[in-house]
Point group: D2
Chain length 132, copies 4
């Protein structure tokens, strides 16, 4: 499991005075980026090699509103890895309070959108997480 910290931006609030619900998916992306850095997965190089990880499915359950300037901890881990897909789980916490939890499914594709199998070295880096 990898954790990263984000601070809620004013831009992310809405007139209800809390973080708008689509932003939690952006925070998930920030956490995936931290995960890749921590596991030595160079996503920029992957895209340069013509490999992309578009989202196939995304879900979030909102438990407690997040507010402007809140410092949130986003924890992410790989819940499942197949030949062509990677599934992440996320929890967003503020101190001991659960803000939200979610999941995403991504599929490896080439520049034409054709599904591809993960190269072994990349699969291993995603997979090592499962042993954590």
């Amino acid at each position: 499991m990898i954790t990263t910290t984000i601070r809620v931006r004013y831009a992310e609030t809405d007139q209800m005075g809390v973080a708008y619900y689509a932003n939690h998916f952006v925070w998930f992306e920030v956490a995936r980026g931290a995960f890749c850095r921590a596991r030595g997965i160079d996503y920029i190089a992957m895209e340069a090699d013509g490999l992309y990880l578009p989202i196939m499915e995304a879900k979030c359950r909102y438990k407690t509103p997040a507010r402007y300037d809140d410092e949130l901890t986003v924890a992410v881990h790989v819940s499942r890895l197949t030949k062509r897909t990677v599934h992440f789980n996320y929890t967003v916490m503020r101190d001991g309070t659960l803000i939200a939890e979610g999941e995403t499914t991504q599929m490896l594709v080439d520049a034409k959108g054709t599904p591809r199998a993960f190269p072994d070295d990349i699969a291993a880096r995603f997979d090592s997480e499962q042993a954590c």
Copy 2:
């Protein structure tokens, strides 16, 4: 079922050349706004009366990438209405192609976040949808 049309903004694309996955939830919100207008639900007045509809859960399955300047049709309907919650289903289409489909669950709360039952007239307006 209510439909609304949105055009993909350049701001909504990412470096993969397609609409970024969090934006679909914004389009769902645009569709909910169209739904409320069509059903005579004045959400601005509801908030002025201290009634809010925060999102408790949101989900999207991405079927086909949406691209810059695409004209998309977002269809929305109420899939379930309880005393305190309303569930919407969405489909996003480009011509005959399914771009994405999703669901949201919202709960009626007051300014303190306490769950509230829908006033009868508002419940009826959400509910009329189920007969469509």
Copy 3:
């Protein structure tokens, strides 16, 4: 001058209860898109041909807050065209009220970022605006 209509999204509001200031620049982009369509400028084809119009400078003066669900009219015209740059002016109105006014400067570049002169036919389409 070309006008386009946008409706303020809940996502675009912030906890001050008004549209967050960065969104006006997105609305400017929506207006530029409408301008290009109206003038027969196919920006998607331009990018496919390796021509891009990144923003060099952007400015906005905010006169009146825009609120959720407001219908806004964004008017755009080319204020200046040079061999390699195009300057747009924008006004955002709600009924008779001025919401904001702004300017952008864009430079034509190729995929490597090298400045390029506008092809004659594209220059003519931008320029025709000045006669309006």
Copy 4:
């Protein structure tokens, strides 16, 4: 002068492969937040007291594209303080490279939007910056 670090999010890129131009204004806001924290200005408390700082004018000059995952340093300082307005200047750097520079003007208003003079203690905290 206060500096803060941001990392470019995938959500912030567009199909040109660089950070979309409206996001720089969000980064300016992140820098203003860091400034307030550093100077002991509690903006959340200000809003709770009915004092708001809406943007009256914003400007950005884009020098070098910012890309996904870039670590950027945003420096901010108060360039001018009047009885009712505060002017910030920003520079966004990636290592030694200037990404963008900009300015904002904000006016202190109450909940009704009526201009207000800065309380002395808050003015002093903004002003101390000028001596840096």
